[in-house]
Symmetry: C2
Subunit: 253 residues, 2 copies
């Protein structure tokens, strides 16, 4: 069994802790959190430390903290020549101190405290400095997920940016949709089958082929009616910019 230590207590860390808790490949021997109580629902108190100098020797250290804390935390791991990875989508592994062997263990999913996820379905994007370490990372990753990918830094950055578009921005558009419904006394729930089908559709058609709507069919009448209907300036600007983007995209065909 591989001995692993997880450093962090945020959304990614707590989901990793739960995924590794019942596992025959991995022994989660310790977790670091500045505030121990954040982790009490997820792991035995005896395994939690709040001082990095108390870390035990392990085969893998997973640093699951905010991007700008990675460098500082990595420096404080007192061991040398150990495999140390971070979970960031946008940082190179060079932020991990040179005294250890570096890698990345990036779970490409949106984690919220109050929403369980099936870890088996989460894509894990791995990178390591050398082949032997990659092999270890891959074994550990495959023990918790069915979707494990070898992804270099440039690819990972592109996934992280693309994820902002297909997750953060998409969710924000859901929010705008819910605001428009609220302002007109309509149940946002009426839109949920449409939202679900929109997400499902791209399993059968590329998004470009799945595109429908007034911008796609260059229906300028409807676009004008919509712009007249929208009273919020920010919503109007977003409507105009995305409509223009779909129109330009059509011309590229």
């Amino acid at each position: 069994m591989f001995k692993i230590v997880i450093i962090g207590s945020g959304n990614v860390a707590t989901h990793l802790i739960q995924a590794f808790s019942k596992n025959e490949t991995v022994d989660l021997i310790q977790v670091f959190a500045r505030k121990k109580k954040n982790l009490l629902p997820f792991i035995a108190p005896a395994k939690i430390v709040d001082n990095l100098s108390d870390l035990k020797e392990a085969d893998l250290y997973i640093i699951a903290v905010s991007d700008d804390a990675i460098e500082q935390v990595a420096k404080q791991i007192s061991f040398e020549n150990k495999l140390v990875v971070h979970t960031s989508g946008s940082y190179d592994f060079s932020w991990i101190s040179n005294k250890n062997r570096k890698g990345v263990f990036y779970p490409l999913q949106t984690f919220s405290k109050n929403k369980a996820v099936d870890f088996k379905t989460i894509p894990l994007c791995l990178e390591a400095e050398n082949e032997a370490d990659y092999a270890v990372l891959e074994k550990i990753a495959k023990s918790v997920s069915d979707k494990v990918y070898q992804i270099n830094y440039r690819q990972r950055q592109s996934l992280h940016v693309a994820a902002v578009f297909v997750n953060n921005f998409v969710n924000h558009l859901y929010h705008i949709g819910s605001e428009i419904c609220d302002n007109n006394q309509v149940d946002f729930g009426i839109l949920k089958p449409l939202i679900e089908e929109t997400a499902n559709k791209i399993n059968q058609l590329p998004p470009k082929e799945a595109q429908t709507g007034p911008a796609k069919r260059q229906d300028f009448n409807t676009i004008e009616r919509h712009l007249n209907f929208i009273s919020d300036d920010n919503q109007k600007n977003i409507y105009q910019m995305l409509t223009q983007s779909i129109l330009s995209n059509g011309k590229k065909l």
Copy 2:
């Protein structure tokens, strides 16, 4: 059984034809299409007419044509005092000629030719000039869908605008995500579990609570790294505008 006639041969019309084809409440007696052959996969050739003056007498005429053709088509229905509805999300029923009783039968879903949908799950938004007609529309709607709503014009307009945000624009963001992946030799499929989870999450949390990402946590470092990574000006403008919108939204809390 209610006798109905469907006018049109586009995506909405063909999905309605299929939904009404095997139905114990409704007898789909006729369909109008300018080009008969478009409908041959969906209905017996004898039931298709290509001249509006050949329409038979029916309890309900469903005009499922493009918005700007509704008025012209409605005028050409030679019968009087019949229930005539259109399927538009953004047009008032006043576009239907005064000689008939008016209503709306608006299916709130994205239809594509090459993608089957389960009609039972499609929200049908109904409106009629009088209660008796509404009752008929409701019976007919409930024979094909489990989700039937009485929705007035203002509400329907708001749903149509909201649908552009949560469907058309969301799908366009999927397309941008796929372009970013393609440009960096990454399989867009890696993002599909994230896309699915993003859509599922709002069944448990309101979109505002489900929001994550650099803009939500005011992580300006990551935002700057992303903007440096994106080379396409249009993608960069969209990134900036939606980031700004999430940031302003956070301040409203």
